[in-house]
Amino acid sequence: MTPTELADLSRVLYSPVTLSLYLAAAFVYLYALTTTVGRREERERGMRARKVGLVLAVAGIGTHIAHEIVRGLAQERLPLGNMFEVTSLMALVGVLTGFIYMQVIRKRPELNGFVLLGGALVLASALLMYSEPGPLMPILDTWWRTFHVSLLVAAMGIFAAGFVFNSLYLLRDTGELAVARERERQLEGSTVGAASAGDLDVADETSGIGGRTIDRLDATVDDGRDHDAEYRAALRAGVSVPRLVIGTFLGTSLVSWVFVYSAATLAEGLTRFLTINLVMVAAALIARWFVPLLPPTATLDGIAHRTIAFAFVMWTVGTIAGAMWAEQSWGRFWGWDPKETGAFLTWVAYAGYLHARATKGVKGRGAAWIGVWSFVVLMGTYLIANYVIVGLHSYAGL
């Protein structure tokens, strides 16, 4: 095949093939999650759906890897040279790591849906930065770059998975706190509340207030008794829709304004901005719907912490490798170039998260918020340093 044909093939493999496979797998897994509280035959259907999801997810990862290989062949170099390629690999590493972690290590395949949904979003966002395959500048063509960039990109993907679980944790915790507050209010008000207080003990066991290190009870999986359905509804209702929508929209805007800034026309920029923001809002609303079906907060928090800790080590090593390469290539190891500043800022933010998680009074919600903000910092500096501010690293961008 000619390079042009290979390039076309790689594009098709990316979108629609991989993108639709990820989305399909995500929705099949999410459907499977809805059946965990249903009747027995429903649960069996969910188990079958999970198998379908597994096949779709593995196929999606397969076509994604195939895309990377074909694109690499088309341009005769590793596909790690521009924004599109970096974002695409970020999605791949995020999905692959998250999937393996959930499926094999944590054995919680029911959460794969969120991993794949997040991966699909990152994958789709890379299309906004699509560029045709091409050769690399000679200065970038070195072992150093491969090592430094692939570590940082992989860390970005895993940080993305960490962001998904921190967000899910916050949603679930918000729901549980709302239920707990409601219960307290009822206890103060009347004797009717006493009965429901007993029902909600399960929630208290797993809520964010107590010990977070051990998954003591799985509050969600239980046979379909009435008060369970009520509890689930209360959890969902605990997350206020307007606040979630406005918060997600504003939070996403902190990053997505870059697309308005960098687009050729204002109309195009606004379209991209709104698309990203509304997709994120939709994802947040989907996640809200699944709040009652999520595992206990301690599990979500633990998953987020493990993924972020792992990515933090990679980020540290990748940044040090970058400084070593800069000394080799530019003659200075650190010069506060926008990208270097961004890498440092991200590192400080996630270091803050790891410290917060070990601090009494901050761990739990406070730490999770720092984790969420850290991801905003990561994506913000990634886009700003490539699209807004011109620095030495900028040729790695567009």
Partner: protein, 542 residues
């Protein structure tokens, strides 16, 4: 406030937050040491949010965040807080390493994961096997035998009444030790950066191909940035000449990546201060090191040779080092004070300007397939030494324009009685020379940082006890293996199960143990409370 305030993690978090905030400012606002021209146009209000906002930014030091007193103060506060945190932690850790022994317990704790089995082996043998197994897996072990230990009551670890057991612990030193190492590495990094700033040297110098090179001395650099403790005597005195500079691009405008450079290589001859000359190559990712000085390619440009003759007398003959300017051109200047009045030429060089309709067309491409020199002649007073001007810029305030001309290589033109020739074209390379004695220390600091970070995050603290008891009058020994995880409990369940399986393999379980073969497998505590209750009633000696 005060010491107690400094020691708190919240303070450290807050300081980290301020650090992040300042870094964020430095990401958004252009930094003077990096992009001085952008900062200048921000100050003038030509770019950015306007002159008024820029004045405010200037006032708070936002144009040089990392050099501002606020940043230094923050750094100081961070290191003070770090020190305040670390001193008690290091002392506690040393005490821990020197004194601590895995604690001895009397019974299974409420939240312990536990499993028990029966064996024919004697309790002492089981304990020996457990010690061997755990010791082999790098647990710190303590064998407790109340009958053998006749000494006084050990107050720290429980009473002598505790049953005979093997207590083991791991992750206690390594996790905290890793964290301490991670934080201590910042002192190494800080010291390396501070002393590096003082001892470092950086200088830039442009060299034209096949022209006289330069010698490593203080006066030969165009830009010279020595650290405070770097003296002129520290120069090594080697000599560099540029034999050839190769550069190429993807010239096909339709090819992917059109216009990108593909080659960027200088062949240089180096003459060390006391040695034979040798030839070497400097490339993008491959600097050259001579006597501890690193030589990088930083910049490049075209070096047209220009001759200027006035009234039959050569007043200028030199190679210009034209620097890249907007629009794909290269800019330089000729200053000939030997003529009377002075001759100045504003020079623009366009490497690829083929002839089109009505004159050359400027393509902006950087390869020299159709080189064109555009000169504008000025006469009057160059004001050399009177005003600040760079090599490639003309101060035209004392000059009058006399018209201009186009020249191709080999051309000669006469503008108002001044003959200008363009006999040949070469290239020049801007080299950066640096000496950074701090690099090895930075590497050591980084290595310590990573070496500390990994155990700090991945060493899990666990305790395990193995108790083997043979109740009086019985043939079988009851073995209980229980323990607790301080991190990642779900992973400990696997580890515990593995330990039990391995111990069973070592001491052996009688084949006729129970009727139900499933019972022989260790009961790993999915429900710790129930398991603890079970083992307490079944196994624990009264």
């Amino acid at each position: 406030m005060g010491w107690r305030w400094l020691v708190r993690m919240r303070t450290a978090l807050m300081l980290l937050g301020v650090l992040a905030l300042m870094t964020a400012v430095a990401t958004v606002v252009p930094q003077e040491p990096n992009v001085p021209t952008t900062v200048r146009s921000w100050r003038l209000g030509e770019e950015g949010p306007g002159a008024t906002v820029s004045a405010v930014l200037d006032w708070v030091g936002a144009f040089d965040v990392y050099g501002s007193p606020a940043f230094l103060a923050l750094l100081l506060a961070l290191f003070l807080s770090l020190t305040a945190c670390l001193i008690p932690r290091i002392r506690a850790w040393i005490r821990l390493v020197r004194r601590s022994k895995p604690p001895v317990v009397k019974t299974v704790g409420g939240s312990d994961i536990t499993a028990s089995f029966q064996t024919d082996a004697a309790p002492a043998d089981v304990h020996a096997a457990a010690a061997k197994l755990l010791g082999g897996r790098v647990w710190r072990i303590r064998r407790h035998d109340p009958e053998a230990e006749g000494g006084p009551l050990d107050a720290s670890s429980g009473a002598r009444s505790a049953p005979s057991q093997v207590a083991a612990e791991k992750g206690l030193w390594s996790r905290e030790g890793g964290s301490l190492l991670f934080h201590l590495s910042f002192y190494v990094l800080l010291a390396a950066i501070v002393f590096g700033q003082l001892l470092t040297f950086e200088g830039q110098r442009g060299v034209v191909e096949r022209d006289r090179g330069f010698t490593d001395t203080a006066i030969s650099y165009w830009n010279y940035q020595p650290g405070r403790w770097f003296s002129e005597a520290d120069h090594a005195g080697w000599r560099l000449e540029l034999d050839e500079f190769e550069i190429d691009w993807i010239r096909d405008p339709l090819a992917p990546g059109a216009g990108q450079p593909t080659t960027f290589r200088s062949t240089v001859t180096i003459t060390p201060a006391d040695g034979e000359p040798f030839q070497d190559v400097v490339e993008g990712n491959q600097p050259l090191t001579v006597d501890g000085f690193k030589i990088h390619q930083l910049d490049w440009g075209y070096a047209p040779r220009v001759e200027v003759e006035v009234d039959g007398q050569m007043v200028y003959d030199d190679l210009l080092t034209a620097v890249a300017a907007d629009g794909g051109g290269f800019r330089s200047a000729v200053k000939a004070p030997a003529a009377d009045p002075d001759v100045g030429l504003e020079v623009f060089f366009y490497p690829f300007a083929p002839d089109g309709d009505g004159g050359p067309s400027l393509t902006g491409a950087p390869w020299d397939e159709a080189p064109l020199l555009v000169v504008r002649q000025w006469r009057g007073d160059l004001q050399l030494g009177a005003t600040q001007q760079t090599v490639n810029e003309l101060d035209t305030s004392g000059l009058e324009s006399e018209g201009g001309a186009f020249l191709r290589p080999g051309d000669e033109v006469v503008v108002e009685g001044v003959t200008i020739r363009f006999p040949e074209l070469r290239r020049w390379v801007g080299f950066q020379v640096s000496s950074r004695p701090q690099i090895p220390w930075l590497l050591v600091g980084s290595a310590l940082l990573v070496a500390g970070l990994i155990p700090a995050l991945y060493a899990y603290r666990r305790r395990v006890w193995v108790m083997a008891v043979r109740p009086p009058g019985q043939q079988r020994t009851l073995v209980t293996v229980f323990g607790r995880a301080f991190q990642r409990p779900e992973k400990f369940e696997e580890e515990h199960g593995d330990l039990v399986t391995e111990l069973i393999r070592m001491v052996g379980v009688p084949p006729d143990d129970t009727t139900d073969p499933d019972d022989r497998a260790p009961r790993s505590g999915a429900d710790p409370a129930a398991a603890a209750r079970d083992s307490a009633t079944e196994v624990m000696p009264r």
